[in-house]
């Protein structure tokens, strides 16, 4: 839609005049958006990272199948073939007791001196390491393999994976309900503020419609008002979340890294989150205002 600059200027003027005139209501609506977006932002920040961590762990999920010490070479071959036939298994890799010990010592890092005894008499059994096609399948595969002959024990990241998935699911559901509630409150408050300014300008709209102003023309200032309120409401959350994530990433991040957990990089996170929050803010504002204008246009 081509609009004359002069007209656009008029609309912007009108909307700022009205935002100023209803200063307190504007302030209340912007605050509501601020609070909502702050919580939405915090939630998203945590969820994005949890998802990434879960993803990292997921791609690393394996099932270790420990073998009976007395297993023969032929039995081992047969078992390997059987394991490969399980539907959800993607790969099967043999890990000798020697390799098992090496990787254990590796992961212990500096403490390995105190485990020199182990190297004399390796207590670890030989093992097959299975990777499943999907992370959720580890549990099923583990249960199947458990009953196979010559298998002494089956291990997978049972505790952590299950708990993490459950936690993410619950957090997601609770968060979504909370966020929807908050967003609707903001929309409602903005709609109310705009309604107030419309009631004050009701006669004006009526006259505009009578002399032949188009609906779009009448709507524009309110559209801008809503947009401005929404975007204003996203400024503080964006700044706060940048600071919070900076702190979290550079302080907590280091500790977590030692536990093989990597957070989403600072710049990626803040850029995406800021854009998302500003977008949500704008959407809330415009939605709220357009909602309240609609019924005043029927003249």
């Amino acid at each position: 839609m081509a609009m004359k600059i002069r007209t656009l200027k008029r609309h912007v003027n009108e909307s700022f005049k009205s935002l100023g005139r209803n200063g307190w209501m504007t302030f209340a609506s912007v605050s509501a958006v601020t609070v909502s977006l702050l919580l939405v932002g915090l939630f998203l920040m945590v969820m994005f990272n949890l998802n990434k961590i879960a993803g990292d762990i997921e791609s690393d999920v394996e099932v270790r199948v420990y073998l009976d010490q007395s297993i023969t070479k032929t039995q081992q071959k047969t078992l390997e073939q059987e394991l490969q036939k399980i539907p959800n298994v993607q790969s099967v890799r043999f890990q000798s007791k020697k390799e098992g010990l090496d990787s254990l010592l590796e992961s212990l890092g500096n403490d390995k001196q105190s485990f020199t005894d182990l190297q004399k008499e390796n207590p670890l059994p030989n093992a097959f390491i299975l990777k499943t096609k999907k992370p959720e399948q580890t549990i099923g595969v583990a249960n199947t393999v458990k009953d196979y002959q010559n298998v002494t024990d089956v291990r997978y990241g049972k505790g952590t994976v299950e708990k993490l998935f459950r936690f993410i699911r619950i957090a997601r559901n609770v968060g979504i309900v909370l966020i929807i509630g908050l967003l609707f409150t903001s929309v409602f408050l903005i709609a109310n503020t705009i309604k107030l300014t419309i009631v004050a300008r009701r006669r004006e709209i009526e006259i505009m419609k009578l002399v032949g102003a188009t609906n779009a023309f009448v709507r524009w200032p309110y559209f801008i008002e809503g947009l401005v309120m929404g975007v204003l409401g996203s400024i503080i959350p964006v700044i706060v979340l940048m600071v919070v994530y900076r702190f979290a990433y550079y302080n907590l991040g280091g500790n977590l890294q030692q536990m093989f957990i990597r957070l989403i990089p600072y710049q990626t996170m803040t850029l995406n989150l800021s854009l998302l929050l500003i977008g949500i803010g704008a959407l809330i504002g415009v939605w709220g205002s357009m909602n309240s204008v609609r019924k005043f246009l029927k003249i």
Binding site: K4, R6, T7, R10, I207, L210, A213, T214
Partner: protein, 231 residues
Amino acid sequence: MEDVIVMQNVWKAYPNGVMALNGIDLSVKQGEFVYVVGPSGAGKSTFIKMIFRELKPTRGKIFINNKNIANLRERQVPYFRRKIGVVFQDFRLLPKLTVYENVAFALEVIEEHPRQIKRRVVEVLDLVGLKHKMRSFPDQLSGGEQQRVSIARSICNRPPVLIADEPTGNLDPETSWQIMEVFKRINEQGTTIVMATHNRDIVNKIRHRVVALEGGMIVRDEQEGDYGYEN
């Protein structure tokens, strides 16, 4: 002269079942001055609202400038309204704007060029005799003057048709005559005027065509007619 307003078998039923208009047939020629009279509840207001498409007829056709507005699309209504001037009993001025701004407002919202606006606003304010009060606010004016501002606003876009719904209803007799004088000037410039009124003196003294409505039907239609009702 060509017909600017043509109504063919126009009916209007309100959602609550009230029949406001029961088959109106009427044509008004360009440059005519028509009084619409009748007791309260006769359907005058409905009739007037039909002409500028505030209401749609339930049945029938309404041609304004040969265009049937009964089936006009919503988005075309604004452009149609730019060709119809409307004046109300209660003036409908914006109290926070000056006389000049009130008239200019009507041209601004249809995105008229600023230079044109300035020229035209001064011109119409001169026509209604209020050029010297351009910078006053509505509440600094008398009722008659306010109505003249509203008339100026209604004709600033040079509509071929001017609709007036009880324009003298809130005014004392003397001021009412001033308003009629303004209408006369506008009518002389070729604008068709349709005026719903209860003002018996005016109808009887300034003779024009009289259309009398009763029970949603035209019961009388006379050139140079009189008011015909006891007030």
